[in-house]
Amino acid sequence: MPAHPGDSGAPLDLEVWLQAHGDRLLRSAYLLCGDAMEAEDLVQETLLQAFKSAHRFRGDSAVYTWLHGILLNLNRRHWRKQKRLVFDEARILRAPVAADRVEPQDDRDFQLTRLAQAIRTLSPEHREVIVLRFYDNLKIHEIAARTGASAGTIKSRLHYALRHLEKLIPGELNVFAAEGTHNQHSP
């Protein structure tokens, strides 16, 4: 049985892909790039590129996995185009995480809002690994396969991304003291 409705559809049916995976792709793109308009452009380019290169899809993976791989490549190309916008860790760490823009309703809501803002300040590589790990729920070796990096590189990026978040989140809200995180229950 296919993992998603579109997985069983004809590989060339753009409309089926859009209905089955469009929303999930858009949300993933939004988390990766941090901008709604850019995310829409990314999804549009992803689906059109997939449509043009559909003959290369061998069916070895689910359609969503294939589409998501294209999305990641396009997103990475987008970073490279924006290389002139150099990631400045020191500047980010000096600036508080938009505390003045937050209207806390309760501690939990406040924590999640601060965390979401902190994730947006991560470098593209670190944000990518956080999104793939905790939104797409991928294992280390799966992230490595999708990004083309080694498992060691992914672990390193994850470690430093969590350390960045640890620095950006105020002490009383900080849940990142331990090395490595995951959303699964203890095996």
Partner: protein
């Protein structure tokens, strides 16, 4: 298993990606080491919080009918009925190897027709050169005001 080994393999332990022996050793280790158990619990808690934050952020966007229409328009997708009819053509023209294959099939078909045509022509020539098996002759006399004569017709079977 040492604490260092446990911390280094924490991601793989959470992924159940360690081999069976090491996975069991890690499970055993957290039962006897409060610090590593604490690290594991915090890792799981942080993961849950991160997941929640990401899902909440992701819910800020959704696929709108306008975006869907824009993508479908750029993909030049026809309504569902005609899309399936066109799919065969797309299948053919999206892959150069398939185009070459189809061309080869057409060329072979043309060659077969040509050979068949040659064989038919040669059979006709050969038949003309063979002696007749039987010959029928018909003579029809006629006469008009100015002419008179006989129409002669001959039929042969070979």
């Amino acid at each position: 298993m040492t604490c260092r080994e446990f911390r280094e393999g924490l991601h793989d332990y959470l992924d159940c990606a360690l081999d069976r022996t090491r996975q069991a050793a890690a499970s055993e280790h957290v039962t006897v080491c409060p610090e590593c158990r604490h690290a594991l619990e915090r890792a799981q808690a942080a993961g849950r919080v991160l997941r929640h934050a990401l899902e909440r952020t992701a819910a800020e966007v959704a696929l709108t009918p306008e975006l869907s229409a824009r993508i479908l328009a750029r993909g030049r997708v026809r309504p569902a009925g005609t899309a399936s009819l066109l799919r065969g053509g797309q299948w053919l023209f999206l892959n150069p190897f398939r185009v070459l294959g189809a061309g080869a099939i057409v060329a072979l078909a043309l060659l077969a027709l040509y050979v068949a045509d040659l064989r038919t022509a040669s059979r006709l020539v050969a038949a003309r050169e063979r002696p007749a098996f039987a010959t029928f002759t018909i003579d029809v006399p006629f006469q008009t005001d100015r002419h008179a004569g006989v129409i002669h017709a001959e039929f042969s079977t070979r």
